[in-house]
């Protein structure tokens, strides 16, 4: 029996090794993802393009604009004469914020003691708009304070904001566990569902199934190589996190790897389940894309916090394996948690494997009665 298993596993391994391009993609994908998350994606809002409509053009307005742009948050890209110019720039996507300085700025400022500047933000992206708005208000009040005409503004509350958990590297704390979960799901679930669907499509599955080997051994033999592949991928992600982004592994590494293995089992059983339902590779792929990959990316708390989702989605996120795996990863890696802390999530994953395999088993019997 185990000889058959090895024969099939070996055959599958040959298939994989012969396909250099897929191999490059399989190992290139985690690297590319880590680089993208690490170096290009940022939740911060900086360098926002703005436009200033200066209707005064006096000394004060000039030093005001100077103050605004020297903050580093804003980049002055256009200037206009009237509000319509702003509208145009917004629509063409040139700017995110517009500042309107009223006529007779300096005169009003010194004569009336107060003058109002208008800030308009492009709120199509709400968080960006709110943040820019707040930056602008802060900068303007610091201008008030720093105005040489004033010694100091009394009765001001200073707010000191401190980012916790190493603000520069903080993204990595979040994305390294997320990327690991995504890659494991991608490689193991999709690859297995596809490779089994392929044998069905080309008719070679029948050949295997008429052999005296139990179907489960055949399936296991086919998926075994993918376990190794995806495990290597996970190691790549953890290693890049550790060496490049200084994401620590405070807890036990063997425990982390063991948990990765259990999660992998969940992913594989999902892949096998899909392939029992799908007859063609296309179907298998679409099913794994829309039923596994996008949810893993978007509902697991990897990109969007679960806490701010509506209740229904929070419930759905609880049936997504990646949610548990990411929790476990974060607990072990960032908090150094041990088995006591993660056991609940771990048990959920084990139960998932069992349930999925049972469903697969049943499906399998129906197909090959």
């Amino acid at each position: 029996m185990h000889r058959t298993f090895w024969a099939i596993a070996k055959k599958e391994m040959y298939h994989i090794l012969r396909d250099t391009r897929t191999l490059i993609i399989l190992f290139g994908m985690p690297i590319a993802l880590v680089i993208i998350f690490g170096y290009t994606i940022s939740n911060e809002f900086k360098n926002a393009s703005i436009s200033v409509i200066d209707q005064s053009r006096d000394d004060l307005s000039k030093s005001f604009i100077e103050h605004l742009t020297s903050s580093g948050h804003f980049r002055l890209v256009t200037t206009g004469k009237k509000v319509e110019d702003l509208e145009h720039a917004f629509k063409a996507g040139q700017i995110k914020m517009g500042v309107i300085i009223p006529p007779k700025f300096e005169t009003q400022y010194y004569r009336n003691n107060t003058v109002t500047v208008q800030i308009i933000t492009d709120a199509t992206e709400p968080n960006y708009a709110a943040t820019l708005n707040n930056y602008a208000i802060n900068i303007i009040s610091s201008f008030n304070k720093g105005d040489p005409a004033l010694s100091s503004a009394p009765y001001r509350i200073d707010i000191k904001t401190r980012m916790f958990y190493n603000p520069e590297l903080v993204g990595a704390y979040n994305f390294i566990p997320g990327v690991a979960a995504l890659i494991l799901m991608l490689v193991s679930a999709m690859m297995t569902s596809l490779t089994i669907a392929k044998e069905k499509e080309t008719g070679t599955m029948d050949l295997l199934l008429v052999s005296p080997v139990p179907p489960l051994i055949i399936i296991l033999g086919k998926v075994a190589p993918y376990i190794i592949l995806s495990f290597i991928d996970a190691l790549i992600v953890f290693a890049m996190g550790y060496y490049i982004f200084e994401v620590p592994i405070l807890g036990s590494l063997p425990l982390l790897l063991l948990m990765s293995l259990i999660y992998l089992m969940v992913a594989l059983s999902l892949g096998v389940l899909i392939s029992t339902v799908a007859d063609t590779q296309q179907t298998a792929m679409m099913a794994s894309m829309f039923a596994l990959l996008l949810p893993t990316m978007l509902l697991s708390g990897f990109i969007f916090p679960i806490a701010s989702m509506p209740t229904l989605l929070q419930v759905i996120s609880r049936i997504i394996p990646a949610t548990y795996f990411i929790d476990i990863e974060k607990a072990i890696m960032l908090k150094g948690a041990g088995w006591e802390v993660i056991q609940q999530s771990a048990i959920v994953m084990v139960v998932m494997v069992i349930v999925l395999l049972l469903i697969t088993w049943k499906n399998f019997k129906i197909i090959h009665k």
């Binding site: 993208i36 360098n47 107060t114 709400p126 509350i157 707010i159 904001t161 701010s308």
Partner: protein
């Protein structure tokens, strides 16, 4: 044209006959649109807050009350020790700690200044950082109130200076005054889903015929390469456009997404964009030996395209070198155009840049697709 008609008809028959595929191609994307639009909600609300009130004064109570009535924060705890607050943050229970120091009110009057501290759990990304922005806005406005409150008391001591000149601000959130996050996400997600779907389908299409062997029968016919490519493209182009119509309708019905601009521009752009994406899909298909290969190649691109499209995080925040990568990214243009036209009412001239770039991409990708389709092995 007879040839084209029969190829297109054949693709449609195959699509229709595939019982498993049809629901996957139509219902799943729509379910995804709805689910994802709810999931991809980065609207900052219910930010978990711990207020470390070491002052317990009238001011601190007023401030806490002011925060409480804003609907963006959940005050989880009013802690009395830093240790307690710290632990809550470490356990991930709170996103932000607002620390009010002892003697805050007394010092405010005595020193004519006060200090507050915000400790932000940056792991939670936008929730925490944008939340901190909102919180400091609340504190600013609280500051103005108590300043007015403090001024008369100053006047009594006779040290009230001349009223000081200052700049006040008035602000407006254009195009989305309620800061509704779904308005932002729905158009983008729709563009993204339509793109992924057609790209995956086409990428697997030709290579599938090669794997099954039917392509050989086609290759011995005198069909022109461009006829074949076009015949493969049009069905998926139609599918994409239909999904777009359904998606926009649902966006309007379920999420009430504003549609300020001319929908004709949206559809015209969608057409150009799908042409480009389909070309890329077919190009990948031609270069692949197996469906598996085609799929993984496509996936590689699709994931990078999505992450770097500005769909979830602003392109402007990327480093400059990375921003160049968004130029050949069809999803990035799609997302921009959808948002600009639907939400801001941008006209054709406003999005002409995206039209131009995408049209160039379409020409390049389709030329590659036709060139790489070889009837001779």
């Amino acid at each position: 044209m007879v040839r084209l008609y029969y190829i297109i008809r054949k693709e449609f028959i195959q699509i229709r006959r595939n019982k498993a595929m049809l629901p996957i191609m139509t219902i799943l994307p729509i379910v995804q649109l709805i689910l994802l639009s709810y999931a991809a909600d980065n609207e900052v609300k219910n930010v978990n807050l711990d207020i470390l009130d070491q002052d317990r004064s009238v001011y601190s109570k007023q401030l806490i009350e002011k925060i409480r009535i804003s609907d963006r924060f959940n005050i989880i705890e009013i802690s009395s020790s830093m240790h307690q607050a710290d632990k809550l943050m470490q356990d991930g229970e709170v996103d932000i700690i607002l620390a009010i120091p002892p003697q805050f009110e007394v010092d405010f009057h005595k020193n004519k200044a006060g200090d507050l501290q915000l400790l932000v759990n940056a792991i939670n990304g936008q929730q925490a950082t944008v939340g901190a922005s909102y919180l400091s806005a609340i504190i600013q406005s609280f500051n103005q109130e108590i300043r007015a409150d403090a001024a008369p008391s100053l006047a009594m001591t006779g040290s009230m200076p001349e009223p000081m000149p200052r700049i006040s601000t008035e602000y407006a959130y254009w195009y989305n005054p309620d800061l509704n996050y779904k308005y932002f996400m729905v158009p983008g997600i729709l563009g993204e889903l339509v793109t992924i779907l057609v790209m995956l389908l086409t990428a697997m299409n030709i290579v599938r015929e090669r794997e099954i062997g039917t392509i050989e029968q086609i290759n011995v016919t005198p069909i022109k390469k461009w006829q074949f490519i076009l015949g493969k493209m049009i069905p998926f182009l139609i599918l994409g456009m239909v999904l777009m119509v359904i998606g926009l309708t649902l966006g309007k019905l379920i999420f009430d997404v504003p549609m300020r601009g001319n929908l004709a521009i949206v559809f015209a752009y969608c057409f150009v964009n799908l042409t480009a994406v389909l070309g890329l899909g077919l190009f990948i298909s031609n270069l692949s030996d197996t469906q598996q290969q085609a799929m993984f190649t496509t996936f590689f691109f699709v994931i990078i395209f999505i992450l770097m499209s500005g769909l979830f995080t602003p392109i402007e925040s990327m480093p400059e070198w990375a921003q160049y990568f968004t130029i050949p990214n069809p999803i990035a243009h799609f997302v921009s155009v959808m948002r600009a036209v639907l939400l801001k009412g941008s006209g054709f001239a406003d999005v002409a840049y995206h039209f131009q770039v995408t049209a160039i991409l379409a020409v390049v990708f389709n030329t590659l697709a036709i060139w790489s389709y070889s009837k001779v092995s």
